[in-house]
Amino acid sequence: MKFLTTNFVKCAVKSCSASQDSFPLKYSECQLAKEESEYNPDFVCHMLERLDWDAIVKVAADLGNTSIPPQKPEGLDPIMEDDQAILRDLHSLLVETVILEGKMTCSSCGHIYHIKNSIPNFLLPPHLV
């Protein structure tokens, strides 16, 4: 599971759908890896536009990275050297960071989902469907 994907998934339990606490999930006991991938600064720039920054900060902290700026970097220019560094860091965090194993917990209902072999499992036991 790529770090980026944590920005799109929430608790699958129906009664949690209206709760603010069902996203992002809380990540724990995670085993991480880095998967090299082609760096494309324009892509990272455009990708940023659609991301929920608060969730990125929270999930990064869950995974032990507390160096993420609290505000979404705005107006990044892939040509500027300072911005390049930020974009590279974001590429490394969002695209290249993979969660191989771990747990995802809903802060609303407490349900725990598992990540195994890098695949997060959102299927629910019958009593929760």
């Binding site: 929430k10 990708m47 890098s118």
Partner: protein, 222 residues
Amino acid sequence: MLPTPDVKDVDYDLVYEPSEDTFLLLDTLEDEQKYIREKFAGKVPLAVEVGVGTGIVSTFMQKHILPSSILVGIDVNPNACATMIRTMQQNMNAGDEDAGISDTVQMSLLSGFRDKCVDLLVFNPPYVPAESVPDLPVSVSDSSWLEVALDGGEDGMAVTWELLHNLDDILSPASGVAYILFCARNKPDQIASTMRQKGWKVNTVGHRKAGWEVLSILRFTK
């Protein structure tokens, strides 16, 4: 004609084998390439395929239809999720400059997805009319995963309706588009008119007689 992705070393007792329906989906997406690219020009869209099977459609989408996208492949079958990642890796070349990002999640429809964030949705559902929708197997190596990929309950529509009823909450309001495959026994004309009454624009963008099945692909937009 765009090349079909290679699919290798798959256990077809556990993962749905690409068939006529799959190939109609590929051909239709190729016909729709211009429409899709124009719709998402200058953006990084989120594309989601539900029911990835081998991942051949997701791979085709990311390689040929909408390269600079975030693509998430969903399947209830963990064998399919793992196969999709493999198919993607086998077909993407290192150094593809506009390569996007792909990932997979094991999930029932989009039940664990945030609302209103999917830009492009592709769904080849279990569309075969059957007495019921099968329960999910407990074991990863259970061959009844294939029945889950095929059997769609009443009119073959039980699973697809579950998604269509939620389409408003799934697609991004600004630009969302969904491509869904149907067979004649699903009564796609009735489905189209029901969805139009709910305010959707529905176009038939693919149609093919495949053996004894007549397949079509409908495009849903607001």
